[in-house]
Symmetry: C2
DNA sequence: GAGATAAATTTACACGCGTAAATTATTAGA
DNA sequence: TCTAATAATTTACGCGTGTAAATTTATCTC
């Protein structure tokens, strides 16, 4: 807690443990309210006093009781981060970027994963509510999100959504411009070979999937092609498995309408690449290759697929950074904004060997 | 909070919000101490009273203030879970198993990742300490862990280690029997082809790597072979990258002493498989294959590598389950055990197409 | 060095709950 | 129906902090 404010990352506990602020006050020769001010904001006390407190902090082992602090504060300095599926590298990555940013702003990030379960998502929000966070960064599950519950939560606590937008919920939204990035991919694929078919899971949990399909259709039409949608059964978050099984089925049945497949996301593509490999289909560009496969997201493993995966990267950094700074400005303003703000960031094409 | 005890996952907030237990007491016609008992343990009040409280809970919107509770309790019901690298699927998986188990026991799991950074690990423990958790489940970083700090933490809070054992720290340890699982792999590989070389990163962050190397050496010797260690430069957690670059270097330089390579973990193997693919080396068993590659851990993507990866699976469930139940028994006992307990679980061979 | 300003101190109360002791009400068993 | 056991209530205090108002002290400017 303290390390956030006074910049100390390690203690030299040469002295004994101090029970409470009262005791620490007499030990350091200051009054408790002054110390209280210091711990809330070191800049709010005179530099000379600040140094005295820091010196005392080195001599004695004292940490303010976080429960007593938060019981009385109007607002805690906790920020909830709720993601739909932490085992998914995209969210693991965003969370990893978010944590140090929160800490740098003096806030305490609390990371929760819904593990793909809508009930779990609401449970996570409930448990956050009991912690009275200053705000919440939420990447909703999407299609299966219990919208009414989410809306009720949002009314009580400043909430910024990212990755997945939900109608009528949240003070702001930051995500990727699927239309732009899919456009980039379709454009590239059309330019360098056959126009791509679009491979997706029929019951995708996340509305981005729908946006990407629509973006694909529009991009194809603007290039003068008829869209070719391959919508395979499947739900949940086991994309690789669906890509492998259903993609393999399509390959073996020779049911692909094009020698180029654009997958709705990299995880589907990873599964499909594995299926193609097992079917002895050579994936890639140029002579001797029977299939081109592209994905979307620039998954951390996209570099290591066989062949390496051509894809579109999302601007994780911008999404994480802007979501947080928007939330912080809402928190600091102390009042909810009147205007809902949504911002989409461009992706960029990552050309590798699969297409 | 309450949902853990009274089993309600959703509220019907037909009534108004209740500020505190006092107010809720008068609304429900009971006394505050009785309600306090109920929230600590619903079984401690008479069934009829229990029903009255639950009914009131449905009528009014009341949640006990978690900060006020924890300020006064001797022990919070928080359990810290600290992992070295959450983006690593092994830890993501263990964490995913741990969370519902904690919740089912009435505890609140707090998940923190050290992101491969030893300072971050200690910071995580410090921030946990300020939360006064009942206990902590810790998978240490390993080699780079700041042992003295860790030891100081452990002395204050019940701590069970898993995955990676640290000399002289922790009330118990649960992990995989690397000797057994590596033995299984070496045995299988020797039986079905050339004896394997062992591919590892020289400065692995985790001591399991050393244990695996030693286990490999012993297994090879007991089979009558000389160990062949391929120790490549590299540190950190980017195993795939090291496997890809250094593995690729070995392959292109034809520096592999055997046509069979056992990788210290699956992530290295994933990188090496990608490198082999790019070099045009066919990996697998039987005719027309030039290289066999095996891994260790049964990474979630091991099914989807090209070819699918032969590996040894760790018993995630047992490790997670036993670690937690040991910690809970220490917490319930209210005193630290005299005897340190370490238990290793067997892995099992997962035969796929790469070896 | 005086006045203006800023900071620290004192005093006092509040927060929402745990918990112990003594008392009263309820239940179970015969 | 009575008694013993059990549960609930009342009363009272404590936990470690936030925070407001009034006062005193230190610092700065000229």
């Amino acid at each position: 807690m303290c390390s956030l404010h006074c910049g100390r990352t390690e203690r030299k506990m040469t002295g004994r443990k101090v029970r409470n602020m009262e005791e620490f006050a007499s030990l350091s020769g200051l009054s408790r309210p002054t110390l209280s001010k210091f711990f809330n904001n070191p800049q709010s006390v005179r530099p000379s006093t600040r140094e005295r407190i820091k010196a005392a902090l080195d001599r004695y082992d004292y940490t303010p009781n976080i429960y007593a602090i938060n019981q009385n504060r109007r607002l805690t300095r906790n920020i909830g981060i709720v993601v739909p599926y932490l085992a998914d590298p995209f969210f693991a990555e965003v969370a990893r970027k978010l944590e140090p940013l929160c800490a740098a702003s003096g806030f305490n990030p609390i990371l929760l994963s819904s593990h793909g379960d809508p009930d779990r998502e609401i449970e996570n929000l409930d448990s956050l509510r009991s912690i009275k966070p200053a705000g919440v960064l939420l990447a909703p599950l999407g299609r299966r999100t219990r919208q009414a519950d989410l809306e009720a939560f949002w009314k009580g606590i400043p909430t910024v959504l990212f990755d997945c937008e939900i109608e009528g919920v949240g003070d702001a939204f930051f995500g990727s411009d699927n239309s732009q990035s899919i456009g980039l991919l379709v454009d590239y694929l059309c330019r360098t070979g056959e126009a791509p078919a679009f491979f997706e899971m029929a019951n995708a949990p996340n509305p981005n999937a729908n946006k990407r399909r629509v973006a694909y259709e529009e991009a194809m039409q603007s290039q003068g092609y008829d869209p070719m949608i391959l919508s395979v059964p499947g739900d949940g978050w086991e994309f690789e498995k669906v890509g492998f099984e259903e993609g393999g089925r399509l390959i073996r049945a020779r049911a692909l309408p094009s020698d180029t497949v654009l997958c709705s996301n990299d995880r589907l593509a990873i599964g499909m690449l594995a299926a193609a490999y097992e079917s002895g289909i050579r994936v890639g560009i140029g002579e001797g290759h029977a299939l081109r496969v592209a994905g979307h997201d620039d998954h951390p493993y996209a570099r290591f697929t066989c062949p390496s995966l051509t894809t579109a990267s999302q601007d994780y950094g911008a999404i994480a950074g802007q979501s947080l700074s928007r939330l912080l400005s809402i928190i600091e303003a102390g009042s909810r904004p009147d205007d809902y703000k949504a911002e989409l960031f461009d992706g960029s094409l990552v050309m590798r060997n699969s297409a």
